[in-house]
């Protein structure tokens, strides 16, 4: 059992102490975690992105790299109340550029491919169930028409499909959270206390 394992274990227990209620040990660990994460983000962003993509090219005489640097500095003006409006220019580049690349990607990969897969699957019974599920669920999301009569029945069918989806997602959420718990308890019982057989 090394010092680092003991330190990690104590901080892990400090966080688990929250199960008994909010307390100073938990709050200490929580704030330490946020602080470390902030420092980490700052270091990784600067060393891994800004330095190699802006500073080094400018240092090598690549003057075109000044433009994204200026845009980046403009976005930092968001921190100043009077100069904040200038930060909208680089933000507009990201939002506009993102919108531009999203249109063909969404249309091709999300809408058309998914529709194609739905229709091409109708050679089997399950394919037909999927088609009915897709159509009725989409019906539920049409809010410009009142959900009455046949339309309402379809929308209610869509809700049932969604309930199955939410139920399955809940089950997988449990799986995820339990996996994290297993990982941490394995650490405490195995790495720290040495109680687990490998």
């Amino acid at each position: 059992m090394t010092i680092e394992v003991t330190l990690t274990a104590l901080l892990t227990l400090a966080i688990y102490s929250f199960l008994a209620g909010d307390n100073p040990f938990y709050r200490f660990a929580e704030h330490l975690l946020v602080g470390l994460t902030i420092g980490y983000t700052l270091v990784v962003t600067i060393k891994s992105v800004i330095w190699p993509q802006c500073a080094i090219p400018i240092g090598n005489g690549q003057l075109s790299a000044i433009i994204p640097l200026v845009l980046g500095l403009l976005i930092l003006l968001r921190l100043s109340r009077s100069l904040a409006p200038w930060s909208r220019i680089p933000l507009a580049l990201v939002v506009g550029g993102g919108a531009g690349v999203a249109i063909p990607a969404m249309l091709q990969a999300r809408v058309l491919s998914q529709m194609e897969a739905t229709i091409s699957g109708t050679g089997s019974v399950t394919g037909w169930i999927v088609l009915i599920g897709v159509v009725t669920t989409l019906t539920y999301f049409v809010f410009t028409r009142e959900h009455r009569g046949a339309w309402g029945a379809a929308a209610r069918g869509g809700r049932l499909f969604m309930m199955v989806f939410f139920g399955a997602t809940f089950a997988y959420t449990v799986m995820s959270r339990v996996a994290l718990l297993i990982g941490r308890l394995e650490f405490l019982l195995g790495d720290w206390l040495g109680l687990l057989r490998t």
Binding site: V44, V94, M106, Q108, E116, A117, M175, S176, I182
Partner: protein, 270 residues
């Protein structure tokens, strides 16, 4: 629920998981088709192929994503397949570097020849699209600041045509963007290795063939380990996973019985 019964629920949950970790029975693990699909594709690669592994997750999901990542990395290293690592999430950067570096060193793989870690790029859409055009333009240097052109593996990769499979190790919706930007536009073959919570979101992409496979959560890691014949963290955790799921299922049933009897009592009383 008041604090006292809630703490009982906490205690039962903790005790059951601890008990299942201490006293493992080794329930058989069924291999699902989605995990087998990923395994078989990586198995078909050889030392001339390059796999790109993107660590698209936060540090919080490491206990779940770590075993999946380890299994996939070990598989690639065993096949001699080259690995290029990168991260589209800030926290995935150090996590990926540690995981890939540790597994590679254990296997005796040479950095720069057998594996390479590129580091972090934000704005995932721009980064994924950018790599479709020119990987060295997006990553001029690796994680440690060394020029990509200075390594044999770095010199080999120019865009997705040089990558056999992209594996997105993700705890969020990032594989969607890999499918929509790298897959649809540049024809990259994408595999999603996911935390379980995200699995249901990606089944439509798997069924439509836009995803080449899914490794679902710690259970997926356990399946992958079984396929490789190397039981590790995923397999070790499966009894505890089963036990915890049974506890939750019992709690759901008990909660419903309680609610049903409460309603019946309320109806009878005037």
């Amino acid at each position: 629920m008041s604090a006292a019964p809630r703490r009982w629920v906490f205690a039962v949950m903790g005790a059951v998981v601890i008990g299942a970790l201490l006293f493992r029975v080794g329930l058989p693990i069924r291999i699902t088709s989605e995990t087998r699909q990923v395994y078989e594709q990586l198995e078909s690669l050889d030392s001339s192929d390059v796999v790109m592994i993107s660590f698209d997750h936060e540090a919080s999901s490491l206990p779940e994503i770590g075993p999946i990542g380890s299994a996939i990395i070990d598989h690639c290293l065993r096949r001699g397949t080259k690995i290029i690592g990168l991260a589209l999430f800030s926290e995935g950067t150090a996590a990926g570097y540690s995981l890939l570096g540790d597994r590679a060193r254990r296997a005796g793989a040479v950095e720069g020849e057998d594996w390479l870690y590129l580091g972090f790029r934000p704005q995932y859409a721009a980064a994924i699209l950018g790599m479709g055009e020119d990987i060295p333009q997006v990553f001029e240097t690796d994680y440690q600041g060394r020029p990509l052109s200075g390594t044999p593996l770095g010199m080999r990769v120019h865009d997705y045509r040089d990558i056999a499979i992209v594996v997105s190790l993700s705890d969020g919706s990032m594989p969607t963007y890999w499918v929509e930007y790298a897959g649809a536009r540049y024809g990259a073959r994408v595999v999603a290795a996911l935390t379980a919570v995200m699995v249901t979101s990606f089944l439509p992409y798997l069924e439509s063939g836009q995803l080449a496979g899914i490794v679902p959560g710690m259970k997926g890691a356990a399946e992958y380990e079984q396929l490789m014949g190397l039981p590790a963290a995923g397999t070790r955790g499966m009894d505890a996973q089963s036990a915890a799921h049974v506890v939750i299922a019992v709690l759901v049933v008990l909660g419903n019985i309680q609610a049903w009897s409460d309603r019946r009592r309320a109806r009878r009383s005037p």
